[in-house]
Amino acid sequence: MRRFTILVLAVAIGLATAASPFASSSPDGLEKVAADHGFVDRGTTREAPVRDYSLPGVRDARVATGLAGFLGTLVVFGAGYGLARRAAS
């Protein structure tokens, strides 16, 4: 299981770090529907540590997104694994 875990985690980190900067930046399905039907402005935004998947303080936008993906994948793995470990015991 250890090998499988490391392998999948490596794939996830690779995708989030290297592929995410090249993902489509068009609005997603809900954002598009909200824009087309005039309720997109009802949405509110707020501050967050890493807004818009762009690590603050990094000048290159693609690098900032890749680093945000790297960080996020590790955070989510840690949270999922930790929660599962606690819940299972």
């Binding site: 598009k32 949270a79 694994y81």
Partner: protein, 221 residues
């Protein structure tokens, strides 16, 4: 499909949070049965993969993009209730760390992108166990169809919640959401089938197939 703060009324937000919390709580409560030693890391890497793949927006028609949701994949691997837990972990991280999706809308987002798809796919897996042979093709077919249906169920849920909140009429938003997500669901099906195939190739023992009384099927029965 992340609903931001401001789209939903408080009543609808609460009404969505109740089943979402119930499903996630049930997943946690069953964890000592469902989560054996292999599934603890499997849950962690499934959550990590879902988060990573959700970042990869792919273009669909007309200046619109879609992204993987992951509930179907998680439900094939872990069953509907642990799939709800996986998506809740991803959505909480996205909301609090990345401001992707509203805080008050967390229940609705967990319902739309996690619970609904998980339950749809869990039900399909259960039905397929009785109706279909336990083959690779049958499992991949269920994964593909389930992935598409999971996205459509989430889109429909989202549309109904927006309409119930008085944000937009149902007759407007439901066809619009289902129309665009019919294409996004095809992308979900492709990614889900690829991921399930990869797991089948690397660690077929992690998938249930012909194994007796798999935990995910117990969970929906």
């Amino acid at each position: 499909m992340h609903i931001p703060d401001g789209f939903l009324s408080n009543e609808v937000a609460v009404a969505c949070a109740i089943p979402a919390v119930a499903a996630v709580g049930y997943g946690l409560r069953r964890a000592d049965v469902d989560l054996d030693d292999r599934r603890v890391p499997l849950l962690g890497v499934t959550a990590a993969f879902v988060f990573a793949a959700q970042m990869l927006n792919f273009p669909v028609a007309g200046g619109t993009s879609g992204h993987f949701l992951g509930a179907a994949l998680a439900a094939v691997l872990l069953g509907p209730w642990l799939a709800s837990l996986v998506l809740a972990v991803v959505l909480v991280a996205q909301a609090f760390v990345f401001a992707d999706g509203g805080i008050t809308a967390l229940g609705a987002n967990a319902l739309n992108m996690g619970v609904l798809g998980g339950v749809v796919v869990g039900g399909l897996m259960l039905a397929a166990r009785h109706a279909l042979p336990a083959t690779r093709g049958a499992l991949l077919g269920v994964a593909a169809g389930g992935a598409w249906l999971a996205v459509m169920a989430g889109a429909a849920g989202c549309a109904i919640e927006l309409a119930a909140s008085g944000t937009v009429p149902l007759g407007t938003v439901l066809p619009a959401m289902l129309g665009v997500h019919a294409a996004i669901g095809a992308g979900e099906a492709v990614i889900t089938v690829a991921a399930v195939s990869a797991v089948l190739a690397a660690r077929p023992d992690l998938l249930h197939g012909p194994a007796p009384a798999p935990p995910m099927l117990l969970a929906v029965s």
